[in-house]
């Protein structure tokens, strides 16, 4: 474990618990477990297991990388809250990484990362030789155009590629490893903000419809 900083990375933004431990770019342990529910109960034991498999303890961790979404709101908060608690207790930084950045990690050329946004929408983020554009939520019937030759990547890639006549490719790296790599890069830069969920969708909340009465003197 002398090759570089030890990065613990994880993600629960969708129907999985994913975690990895890396020493620099070398993956020491990497696990993905598929689950619809139960991420809150499973995440910390899984982190213990990947650290154990890597022969490391929590105190060996140099930095934490965490997937910030977009995705399941509750799922994003599970990982981000755990990462912030871990960072506080270890005195090490937690670094937030967008899931679509992680999907595009290690790719080149024109790439569009695609996630199911539900309710007839998609989460999208374009990358130009790795340089990220703004992540957005787009309606499926009014998808933003993509440059010719754009490759779609991610769990919703088939749907988006089919609608826009683009091609599809698999991500270059497993999700937790990709998050770890990006976190490692960001860790080298000073002043990283605390990780915060990337929702890209407003909370469902309707303003009160019942106007108060006029008060007469």
């Amino acid at each position: 474990m002398s090759e570089g900083p030890l990065i613990l990375s994880f993600d629960t933004s969708a129907a999985h618990c994913a975690a990895a431990v890396m020493s620099g770019h070398r993956v020491l342990a990497d696990r993905v477990e598929t689950m619809q529910t139960g991420q809150a109960e499973r995440l910390m034991p899984l982190l213990g297991e990947v650290l154990g498999a890597a022969g490391a303890s929590p105190q060996d961790v140099t930095a934490i990388g965490v997937g910030t979404g977009p995705g399941n709101f509750t799922g994003i908060r599970i990982a981000v809250s755990a990462a912030r608690g871990l960072a506080l207790s270890l005195g090490r930084p937690a670094i937030g990484v967008g899931v679509m950045e992680a999907l595009a990690e290690g790719t080149g050329g024109q790439v569009r990362a695609c996630l199911d946004g539900r309710r007839g929408a998609a989460y999208l983020q374009d990358f130009d030789d790795g340089a990220p554009g703004e992540p957005c939520l787009a309606e499926l019937n009014s998808l933003p155009a993509a440059p010719a030759g754009t490759v779609c990547i991610g769990p919703f890639a088939e749907e988006i590629a089919g609608r826009l006549g683009l091609s599809v490719a698999a991500p270059a790296l497993p999700l937790a490893e990709a998050i770890g790599r990006i976190a490692l890069r960001r860790h080298a830069r000073e002043g990283q903000p605390r990780p915060a969920p990337l929702y890209l969708r407003r909370a469902d909340a309707a303003p009160s419809s019942d106007p108060p009465p006029a008060i007469l003197p």
Binding site: A40, E41, R42, L43, M44, P45, L47, G48, P58, Q59, F73, T74, R77, I78, A79, V80, S81, A82, A83, R84, G85, L86, A87, L88, S89, L90, R194, A196, P197, Y199, A203, D204, A205, A206, P207, S208, D210, P212, P213, A214, I215, L216, P217
Partner: protein, 363 residues
């Protein structure tokens, strides 16, 4: 493992719209208690929006813990455990608290204790007044209303509770209907002071039924009808009439709580407690008119009346740390698989509430 006194406990609370962290010593000394509310966040929506609350908690909890540690002039390494609200409540916020607590426990190796939010309220009289078991507790807040006989840190008997809304929620609704600010309780009480409590005869739901169960949703509807009648008659709500509506509404709530408290005290006194005590917690306990009525009922039953200071009656993390202290002393520990429970009744043996829902009693 037995705990050597005195020890320090971190408490974390995020089950509704307050993000809170506290450090409490096992002898009852509160070293710090930080509470950050979200009133402005929810103001436009006429109530707490669960998703908005969860979003705020997720980005405030670790900061609240840091602030509480700094205010207590201590460090995580000086602590003996971490207590966190694991339910019942708004699940998004509870989950953020549980995950933050587990992250801290994972990194420090400190023991973790999941606490029932209601147990936090119910055990507060022991933190503030060292009240001996068993005592009768009325928990009356914006989200809860129930009578409990508290026999131990993990031993509660539920005598009854609301079958629909909580009184605090009804006060908030009353304020909204009468163009008063939120949270409604203090404003309704202030305006009520200038009104006639006998002006409008509002219903006293379930007073004609035996037992300690209560209902407040019909009262809200009755208030709405009375207001609409006034608005129709005057083309608006006269200030004077608003005061009467507030006073009459408050009187109805006070009557229900007083009578049900009298019945709950009678049941409690059958247990022949050594030091008969009636404690209240929750924001509604801050209402002066209600509190005076409850004090009278307690005196009539020969029970000591205990009302913790308001800051420890409303949601806070000191009560969670304290409940954690009591649970740790009793040998409780939770693992890294601790989950969050939106529904978590304190008393699982008493019959479930009417209207508790098909998933079982909420609280």
């Amino acid at each position: 493992m037995t705990m050597r006194d005195p020890f320090l406990m971190l408490g974390i609370e995020s089950s509704c719209d307050d993000t809170a962290a506290a450090v409490v010593r096992s002898d009852g000394e509160i070293l710090s208690s930080e509470v950050t509310g979200q009133a402005a966040l929810h103001a436009a929506y006429g109530g707490v929006v669960p998703e908005l609350a969860a979003r705020a908690h997720a980005e405030r909890l670790d900061i609240a813990v840091e602030t509480a540690l700094a205010a207590a002039r201590t460090r995580l390494a000086e602590l003996s455990g971490i207590a966190v609200t694991a339910g019942p409540g708004l699940i998004g916020g509870v989950l953020s608290g549980v995950m933050c607590a587990k992250g801290i426990a994972f990194g420090t190796g400190l023991p973790l204790v999941g606490v029932n939010h209601l147990a936090g309220h119910a055990l507060t009289p022991r933190l503030t007044d060292n009240l001996p078991y068993p005592y009768l507790m009325l928990l009356v807040s914006g989200g809860h209303c129930q009578f409990l006989i508290v026999r131990g840190p993990d031993d509660f008997r539920r005598l009854g509770g609301t079958i629909d809304d909580a009184p605090g929620e009804a006060f908030d609704k009353c304020a909204r209907l009468l163009a008063l600010p939120q949270p409604g309780g203090p404003h309704v009480e202030r305006v009520a002071a200038g009104g006639d409590p006998g002006a409008i005869r509002f219903p006293r739901p379930l007073l004609d039924r035996p037992g300690c169960d209560m209902s407040f949703s019909g009262l809200k509807t009755a208030l709405l009808r009375a207001r609409d009648a006034d608005v129709a008659e005057h083309g608006g709500l006269p200030e004077r009439r608003r005061a009467d509506l507030c006073a009459s509404f408050q009187a109805a709530v006070a009557d229900v709580l007083a009578e049900k408290s009298r019945r709950a005290l009678a049941v409690y006194m059958e247990e022949a407690p050594g030091t008969p005590s009636f404690a209240v917690a929750g924001g509604v306990a801050a209402n002066g008119v209600i509190r005076a009525r409850l004090e009278t009922v307690a005196a009539g039953a020969g029970a000591r009346f205990v009302a913790p200071p308001l800051a420890l009656c409303t949601d806070n993390a000191a009560m969670i740390a304290w409940a954690g202290i009591e649970r740790m002393r009793a040998g409780h520990r939770d693992g890294m698989d601790l989950g969050a429970r939106p529904r978590w009744p304190l008393d699982t043996s008493s019959p479930a509430l009417i209207g508790g829902g098909r998933k079982g009693a909420k609280a």
